[in-house]
Each structure stands twice: as structure tokens, then as C-alpha cells.
Symmetry: C2
Subunit: 362 residues, 2 copies
């Protein structure tokens, strides 16, 4: 799958995911109580000697160890309240093979040191952090081997650009756009939804095989909102401008589509989970995390805010855009985009939508 080789969050510098992921951090913090409840339930039903936890789509940056830390806190406080010695903990950090795991690993010695300092030498010695570089649209773990799975802002990524975006005659349906846009023909939304249904169903089936009975999964997904559509329309306009100036071929624009589908509402998610059938839905709610930096109406000028938002979008789609349009086009593209974003922010305020799901394996 070509997409997997290309898709990874930016690892370094101004446009890095690490420096442009405040929204994600806010959302992970929001899931704290879901994680705590899940860990307590699993621990008290099993008293495992070794608790096995996977973070799918862990990315690379300061967020990477945050879910692991939440799990440690929850496990530690659950055991403490029961006067139990905490179990060993095996953590599996998963992302695509192109993710910058080296920079995660560089932080690991200081993570272990902090852990020993805060939770005691023994807990630090028996926490085993491992990496699993593979797409989560394939099996990642032995059957029946995990207690808990967490995934934040990853499952809205599709396994590929929706198949239905090219018709039987090889014609691109979504010409001039790069995502579901106001000018997209009706087949485009259906192609995206079909791909999401098929991918999310596969995801659930695979995870059900890997989880132990009554194992739990806490997921956050980007929810469908005007923000993403508007931003992608502005980016498409920037690319269109470059097509008109002869800097980018029109066919390049016509054949690019962002492989992401944030479900429109809870019902869309619920019906897929119920149809797949491996999980009971324990929690399914929509929330609005604190706005990403640049969206809050702070003291910064519009141009600066436009640049910040553009960097945010660039952090998640840089590798895809660069591989499709060529590395050399990207600075120009995002400069044009940031100007359009600044205009946009003059008149609009934006709210992000997230979907939080806790599932229990039947």
C-alpha cells in the first residue's frame, strides 16, 4: 500500500506534528476519565500479572507518551486504592513504519527515569515499552493478548484514497477539489463514507481478535465539521491558483484527494459498530476540545494566526502533499494557503468536533 509508505506526521522543525498538535493534546486530556474507568474495570476483573496496552497511531512528539502516562497513573492509583502491588506493564506504541520512531526512542531513557522517580524503582523496571511499526488495518498483535487499546485522532485516517473517487472509465470524480467540497458531485461523499465504513469495520474486527474477553478500547476520532471542509477548500484554492500560474499540472490537482474521513455524527459511528458486532458501546459522545492554537482569538495578528493554522494543517498532510505534488511546491502552497486562512479568520470562528468512544469486547 503506497499510502502507508508516504503518510506520516511531520517529525521535525516548525512544521512538525510535535509543534502543531495542541488540539490533539487537549483531546487526550479529555479522555483521561474514560481511560481511568477502563483501567480500573479491567484490573479489578482480571488482576493480570502483566497488563498489556497498545496505543495505535502514537505519532512522534511530546504527545506520544501522554496516553501511556495516563494508563500508568490509572493503573497505579487503582492498585494503590486496593493495596495491591502494581502489575508489570507492557506498552505497544504503534504507528506506520515511516513514523519517526527514533525521536520517540531518544526520549525513552528520560521517560523511564521520570517513571522510577514518580512511581518507584520497581514500577520503572517492569514497564516495557515497545514499538509496532505497521498499519493498523492489518493484524498487529497475537490473538487474545491485549487488555486495553487506545487511539487518539488516528482512526479517521483511511487505509487508502477512497476507491470510489475514480469511476469505471478511470475518470476522477472530484476534479478541482482535494476533499469533500461544496462543488464536489454527490458520489464523492458516498465514496468517502463507503471507504470509512469498510476501514472502520476492518479495524474493529482486527482489534476484537487481539483484545482479551471484556478488553476495552478508548478511541477519539476527529468529527465531521465545517472547519476541515473549509480548510481543505482553501488549500484546494491555493493549489488551483498554482495550476492557473502553470506551477502545477491540472491533472495532479484532479488526482489528489485527502484520505481522511471524520464521521459526520455519532449515529454514523454507532451503526458501523453495531453492524460489525464484536463490541458493546459503553460510551459514545461528541465533544468540542479547546481550539487549536491560532483559532483562539488571542492578541496575535491575523497573518500570524493564518500561519499558525496553516502549520497545523501542514503538519498532518505535508508528507502526502509533498509526495504527490513534489517537495519543491509545498512552501509556496502553504504560503498562499496561510494568506487565505488569515482572510477566513477575519469573519469566522471555528469549533472543532471530536467523537469519544469506549467499547467493551463482547
Amino acid at each position: 500500500m503506497e499510502l502507508q509508505k508516504v503518510l506520516h506526521m511531520n517529525g521535525d522543525g516548525d512544521y512538525s506534528y510535535a509543534n502543531n498538535s495542541s488540539l490533539q493534546t487537549n483531546a487526550i486530556l479529555k479522555t483521561k476519565s474514560s481511560i481511568q474507568e477502563s483501567i480500573a474495570e479491567i484490573y479489578c476483573n482480571n488482576f493480570p500479572e502483566c497488563f498489556k496496552f497498545a496505543d495505535l497511531g502514537c505519532s512522534s512528539g511530546p504527545n506520544t507518551y501522554l496516553p501511556t502516562w495516563e494508563v500508568i497513573e490509572a493503573l497505579h492509583s487503582t492498585c494503590h486504592s486496593q493495596n495491591h502491588k502494581p502489575p508489570m506493564l507492557q506498552v505497544f506504541l504503534n504507528d506506520l513504519p515511516g513514523n519517526d520512531f527514533n525521536s520517540i526512542f531518544k526520549l525513552l531513557p528520560s521517560f523511564y527515569e521520570t517513571l522510577k522517580k514518580e512511581k518507584g524503582d520497581e514500577f520503572g523496571e517492569y514497564c516495557f515499552i515497545t514499538a509496532v511499526p505497521k498499519s493498523f488495518y492489518g493484524r498487529l498483535f497475537p490473538s487474545n493478548s491485549l487488555h486495553f487499546i487506545f487511539s487518539s485522532f488516528s482512526v479517521q485516517w483511511l487505509s487508502q484514497v477512497p476507491k470510489g473517487l475514480v469511476n469505471e472509465y478511470g475518470v476522477q470524480l472530484n476534479k478541482g477539489n482535494i476533499y469533500i467540497a461544496k462543488t464536489s458531485p454527490p458520489g464523492v461523499h458516498k465514496a468517502y463514507l463507503d471507504q470509512f465504513e469498510s476501514d472502520f469495520t476492518l479495524f474493529l474486527r482486527l482489534r476484537a481478535e487481539e483484545l482479551k474477553p471484556r478488553g476495552r478500547m478508548v478511541l477519539t476520532l476527529m468529527g465531521g465539521n465545517k472547519y476541515l471542509n473549509d480548510m481543505q477548500e482553501l488549500l484546494a484554492m491555493a493549489i488551483n491558483d498554482m495550476v492557473l500560474e502553470g506551477l502545477i499540472e491540472e491533472s495532479k490537482l484532479d488526482s489528489y484527494n485527502l484520505p481522511i474521513y471524520p464521521p459526520y455524527d455519532e449515529q454514523e459511528v454507532r451503526s458501523i459498530i453495531e453492524r460489525e458486532g464484536s463490541f458493546n458501546i459503553h460510551q459514545l459522545e461528541t465533544f468540542h476540545p479547546a481550539p487549536a492554537e491560532g483559532f483562539d482569538k488571542d492578541n496575535k495578528g491575523l497573518d500570524t494566526r493564518g500561519e499558525i493554522v496553516a502549520s497545523n494543517i501542514r503538519a498532518i498532510s505535508d508528507s502526502l502533499l509533498a509526495s504527490h505534488f513534489g517537495e519543491s511546491k509545498i512552501d509556496d502552497m502553504f504560503h498562499r494557503f496561510s494568506i487565505k486562512v488569515a482572510h477566513y479568520l477575519e469573519t469566522r470562528s471555528v469549533e472543532s468536533t471530536c467523537i469519544l468512544i469506549t467499547l467493551i469486547k463482547k
Copy 2:
């Protein structure tokens, strides 16, 4: 532990471990029959649903997947001969956090593709390769969780520069040398041996905790030989020349010692294993792998052979030397060294020694 942050095999380019590890490749191939026998024994005693295997000190290069491939071959042929469906396989590739895991992971998609092509889709889908970035002088895995451990050319690396090389008054014992040399005082060899005994004992105790009962471990270690001592003496001479020319401070040379101890003979290894007590020795033998490139008297001129050998040595100690003496000194150092090696090769032929051990957990 500072050493762990610094020590890693070179990842890229002319001096990379990948391009300078023919000796290691030869030795891994030599262990093939030990791996095959171990896998067959373990499989037939347990019929595990998921076979769990760790490669400790996997490094980063074309060798990295070789032991995993040998294990797969062995598992596949064992199951085939019994008309069994092969079990799932979980592989843990271990090295220090500074190892270049990214470049290993880049090869993973094509490794999985090859696996599916050669061993069938199902085996490919149920082979789970993970990475464990941590020193093997600490616990790496949950208790009682592994069937088989392999480690090639790693266990001779010490956890630190031998403590005994600095006396109670803070005086360096091994002045002017960087390893056990003809001009080293007698305390130096003892300091190295003591550190090795302590490290290898710890290594055995930790692995015994992680292995399942009757689990097996196949290790190859560099054996003590004149080659390593001679090479390190030549490198010390090159550094000494730079001290005399004022390019390196004398105190820098005096305080550098290579943290490696290749056991002198089988008896040294046997007595540590027996004293530690967790394992039965199934196999303990010395062999001489085909010489590393540059040592074989081929058609290449002496200067070229000197450079090749210098690159071999550089691949394993570059990061340590650069961090101690400064990156800017290393090219000059190894240029001087390669000239000395070329002289050396005029009159000597060199044989490498390896120790091969198969252990069974009691």
C-alpha cells in the same frame, strides 16, 4: 547510564555498520543449526499458539532481519514436518534507544511482503515484529514470556567502562592505552574481567526471568584474540600521535577505554554460567568465522585493505570515540589508523575467534 546514550552502531554511509559487518553475517550463518535445533525442541515441547522470540542487540542494517528469518525458516520447517499449521510469531528486536530503528522499520514492509510470498499469506499476517529500545542490562520483557532468545556479537559489550580502571584516588590506571594492551598494568585485565563477570551474570539472571521454563538462548560472543588487542593498540598509537602533535589532550586519551570484553576462552564463560545457575549449558564451542573483508588476502592493495579494516573498527566504535574526543577528530584519527593497519597487514594474518553458546533454562 551515559554510555547507553552514546553507544550505537553507525547507521549510514561508508562507515556504517551495515556496510562493515561481513564478519557478523558469517557468524550468524554459522549459528543456523543451533537455532534450528532450539526452535524444533521448543516447538515440540510446547506447541505454542504464539511463538515469542527476541533478538538482543539487533543493530541496524542488512543483518537485522537475518536471525528473524532463520527463526521463521526453522519454525516453518518444523511445523511442516509435523503437518502442523505454524503458530503466530511475535518478534522483539532489541537494541539501545540510540540505534537507528527508523532504517530497520523502512525495510519492514518489504520484509512482510517477502514473508507472505515465501511462506504464505497467513504466516505473513501473523508475524508481529516489534522493537524494544532499551539496554539488555535491565529487564526487557514480562516474566516468563519468551520461548527463545538470540544474540549475536552483543554480549561482549559491557554495561559501562570497567569501574576498576580508575583507582580510589581517581587516577586512571590505563594511561596511554584504550584497551587491554601489552603496556597495561596487570590491574587492567582484572578490571575488565570483573566488569564482564558482573555484567554477564546480570544478563543471565534477567534472561532467566524472561524466558519460559525450558526456554532456550543462543548467543555468539566475540572471543578474546590478538586481533582486537592489536587493532586497539594501533588505534591508541594513532591517538597518541595526535596527542604529540597537540591535536588531542593527553588526559582525553588517558580517560578513554573501550567498554568491551571478549572472553578469553570457553572456561571463562562456562564458570560464569555455572556460578549464576539458571541455565544448563547445551552447547559451548569456539569457532573461527570466515575473515572479515579486508583480512582475506585478496587482490586488493595493502592500503585498500587497511582502509577496509579501519572502517570495520570505526563502524563499531565511532559513536563512542566521537562523543569522547569530538566529531571533528575522527576522520584524521582513522586515516592515521588505516595507515598503521596497512603496515600491520604486511606481515600478519589474522584469525577471528567466536564463542557459540546454547543454553536451556533450568
